[in-house]
Point group: C2
Chain length 143, copies 2
Amino acid sequence: MLSNSSKYAIKGVLYLALNSNADHKVLVRDIYDTIHVPEAYLAKLLQELSRHGIISSTRGPKGGFYLSDEDRKHTLLEIVKVIDGENRLNSCVMGIRNCDMDNPCVLHKLVGGNKSKFINVLESTTILDLIDGKKGVEEFFPM
Amino acid sequence: MLSNSSKYAIKGVLYLALNSNADHKVLVRDIYDTIHVPEAYLAKLLQELSRHGIISSTRGPKGGFYLSDEDRKHTLLEIVKVIDGENRLNSCVMGIRNCDMDNPCVLHKLVGGNKSKFINVLESTTILDLIDGKKGVEEFFPM
DNA sequence: CATAAAAAAGATAAAAATATCTTTTAATCT
DNA sequence: AGATTAAAAGATATTTTTATCTTTTTTATG
């Protein structure tokens, strides 16, 4: 359902949500170990998210990645769509042609409901929602 | 969540459920076009299922793949486990270490419920359940 | 302005998933 | 028994995903 890349991206954004703001940017090298994502790969993913305006970044000294207040209003689904593309989530669970919500195949009816709910959660959950009331990274990235 | 291979396999088994029995075996070459799965690849998948006792087959003239009455009692989850292995479904949605149902990470709590339900459907649905009351292939594989 | 810091971009590599092709084995039928 | 049929097994190829490495561009600062 979700690619590894999307999971990585969400973990990265989550870290930024908990540890950064416009006045305190963070470097990929400070993140990757905590969230268990290869450094160079994480860099690529964050760059992609930045390019799409999901997160913020500045180059050069004192630069790094961070989340503005606006950034925090983005949903998990937006992250997933940037990384995995629209198609992956929209396609029929069973990969059957001409099958969608309106004209579901038998299998779609069977498992499609749960999938829809899964997507709904991603769509209705913002970064802010996720970290609301949480204090530290430990809670999100248990060893 | 499900690999393409698993989807292919389920489609193949579904076709067998609708079109075969011990007295009427079918060849891969008669299946693949209808369910839109590459011929040689489908053959491999069905062979794997046969090897694991999920479906039946015999070689030689009048041979082919088919489902015995017993075969029809297998669940979708069994098919998925043979093709994708145990790990794919059991791993944490977010790929976070030491995270499971008992000690869920924040994201797990968020989407884990829907995933569990998805797996429950696969686990509680047999091949027989799937085709119960259905008349033809068209209903399952709409063009 | 020169230097250093850090993201951005581009190129390449490795691994996994998907797909095909060839050879072997087993079953049936004449 | 010999020929033929079809799955089983094995080997190879392609594509996609995941991952790394190198170069370039931007920015801050001495």
